[in-house]
Symmetry: C4
Subunit: 277 residues, 4 copies
């Protein structure tokens, strides 16, 4: 518990990759590292998957750091994720300003993405969700904890961010850089932070990684709630369950790699888009 | 708590608009204020959305105040919401009488809509639902409370109306103006009232607003039930969370505006009708 | 409570009709009373609806008393309800014998239907379901009780039948007339009886009535479980809520009438069959 | 309780067949016993059904013992079950080695299947699932118990396997024969074993039998959780409920028989594949 939190986060992160890599076998293929083509295609698919899997309602969003300009990122204009196409993607800088001054109206809460992508150079994709499974934990003193092997990214803890601690902040929306920076600070080196009475942010090394984390977070939250309701003693996943996997020599995949979970991505995409990956 | 309830309701209402407007960015476009064309189109879509999202079963209903005759309103004839087309809409006065004496058979509970639209000039659309998520709260001493930023309309409280308090009322259906007026009185200036052992009424400034409120009420009820089941202390949304937003200078959109939540409306419509808005 | 149970059942039944008739307005049209044509068409649709609404899994069943031979009934051969067509319907006598000795293999548990249709001349349709919402109540000391106005048929009580009380009975299946008669006796004049560790039987005056009762039973069970989980005091529907409605002069519809709930039937049918009624 | 566990398992197994056979009537038709044609076709359908019924996410798997080489088995390459076709099936020996050295990359956890098929000659199909209904029981001291007549295969008990008891094991995945053998030993002669913080293994005499057991396990877990939440006393299925059925003279069907539950298989297949069986 006294371990440096950065160090622990890296371990957990590495453990996550190790598990994912084992699960995925050898079918993951790195995307071309130059150019944003596959990244933007993945971002469109991510919007559709997250809508189809009920992780994003009409109001949530997902972003991706630019491959060519790591100080820029892409996210859809102010549109429901389930309706997003490539033409709806807008490029922003890390202060949340659209690169093109004639860009269509952006999402008011794009500062969530800007602030986290500014603070976390290891993160290349951010999801902001109001998923109903997680909302109860945003309002409860019961902490979200990892229930199974697909959620090792919760081992570092799941903080609940309180927007009322941001001086001068009005309302519940993260619609400015100061609120965004406060949220990013609460997130720290973790993968998930909850926002009290609002939802969650979930990050990933790639777009498919962030999508996977969001979907497995949803399963984990439902499983934890049900396990508590059974009334017995609950055993949570521990660092010991995954740390041995952390010695895996496999490095993180390069930015733009389409997912550590290609098996899942394939079926999620087919269900959302009607096509195989 | 000693604040005038009308005043509080207006504040909450304004806060709701502010949040919605922020969320929606600038994509909301006011519909033509004259003529009921877009209103009736929205009402058909509202029927289909509420059916597709499982807010209305075969027996619930949604109404819209006439733009040209604010003392009239429209709702579908006695037909399941999921099957409603424009040809099924009937025009009523605020006593629940069909304007056209040869109109097809109406819904027996149209008096819910007539009475609320008569009592609430700020309301232009009413939903009556038996949604399973809310039904437990109609039979419980546990009050429905706002869990997240999409349900600020619950801050004014959610009363439970008891039909047995209506003198001479037989059965559970609001099939006369006296029962309707009693329900409208319990609703007061709020957005939602529960009906014991029956369901709920949800109102809005526009049809999409009422639809949104109904759908977010459904999410909120499920989230509250789950938060309670976690067994910890639950934190609810408070007036302080939204009142700062109430200073927003943005006025209410004119009657007929297709929704404060165009992002959500777009995806709900596409899922229900197979077309974008 | 000391009221004769037959009398109470009749009152409840009449109250149910009154509520249904109010809800349905005047759109219900009595089917032709002679001939089984519309009855068999309704029975096919009932199979598909109950499968599509997840009331029947691959193994449940629904039956209908013959209009022309009230001592006969129809049900599908040994086939999943979701796959049933008119060609799959088989005619049985009230001992469960196929009228046509060359009929295809029947459902082993057809004795449920035979025994109830023999004991209850007021019943013309029987559903046997393993619906997951009701199964917990078949294994619990907590009784199923009516939560809302669409479930007045539960006011007469919901007994739990124990198959181990049938002398000589082996296993859990009602595969003989003795077990069927025991179940029918437990059902008495009620609409629903649970079968411990197995499921439920639900009856109706018509096929759509039995379908409706089964679907609203499902909603009611989920609502009751959730209301209990909220932890407050729960108020149940009472006889007083519906008995005034029982003075309705409207008589029961003739056998073969396609439903007291035409609005619901229409949307259920469209969802199951892709066509309006 | 002092009865030999092998003996009890056989009784339970026989009881399960008896119930299933009763339920199925006489429509089950044994597949051709020679050749793997129908077996492989069933295995493809099993992949699709288990995906469509949400028993398998993108990462679970199902296997089938070869008819011609009982020391070999088939399972899909490293691909989401919902996307599997006949071309994706790979043949393995009981140590988890692909028969064809040029076979595509296999599932890392194929050792689950190899080890169980090696230890259990009566088993011809294995499912490994992360179904959310069962996950809470993998982390809880509350044991899974049979709730209804479709889950007699749980009467022998449902052990929870702890991977941390395997010497030298790293991580949570069963990616070697030693871990597989340990899991198979915990399973013993039972039908289901849970894996702490991971999921479950479910076995069957045929592919449809394993599929059925997995699906009814899912229902049973949800029903048990809900029955506990009702707060009353819960009655579980007992040996006495099924043992009389065990005297059924009907022998186990030959290997390759397409299911003891042809009624269920038919509708599951139609929903997953768009075709009747």
């Amino acid at each position: 518990m006294r371990m440096n939190s950065m160090c622990r986060a890296v371990m957990v992160f590495a453990a996550g990759i190790a598990i994912a890599a084992e699960t995925a076998g050898q079918t993951a293929k790195p995307a071309q590292a130059s150019g944003n083509g596959s990244l933007l295609a993945d971002l469109v698919v991510a919007n559709r998957i997250l809508s189809n899997e009920n992780i994003l309602d009409g109001l949530g969003h997902v972003s991706a750091r630019s491959v060519q300009r790591p100080d820029h990122f892409f996210m859809a204009r102010d549109l429901a994720p389930g309706l997003v196409t490539a033409a709806d993607l807008v490029e922003y800088d890390l202060d949340g300003n659209a690169v093109d001054p004639k860009a269509p109206t952006g999402v008011r809460e794009r500062f969530i993405h800007a602030a986290i992508l500014k603070a976390r150079r290891d993160v290349n994709s951010v999801v902001h969700s109001h998923m109903p499974s997680v909302l109860p934990f945003t309002d409860s003193t019961v902490p979200l904890r990892p229930m199974y092997h697909m959620a090792p990214f919760l081992l570092a803890g799941v903080p609940v961010w309180e927007i009322r601690t941001v001086p001068g902040q009005v309302g519940m929306l993260v619609d400015n850089n100061k609120a965004g920076a406060s949220l990013a600070q609460t997130l720290g080196n973790r993968t998930v932070a909850l926002m009290r009475g609002h939802g969650a942010v979930i990050v990933g090394v790639t777009v498919p990684d962030a999508v996977s984390n969001a979907i497995f977070l949803d399963v984990n939250a439902r499983v934890q709630a049900q396990a508590i309701a059974l009334g017995g003693k609950v055993t949570y996943l521990t660092q010991a369950d995954v740390e041995a996997g952390a010695v895996s020599p496999q490095p993180p995949a390069p930015i733009g790699t389409p997912g550590y979970y290609p098996r899942s991505w394939g079926i999620w995409k087919q269900k959302a888009m009607g096509e195989k990956r």
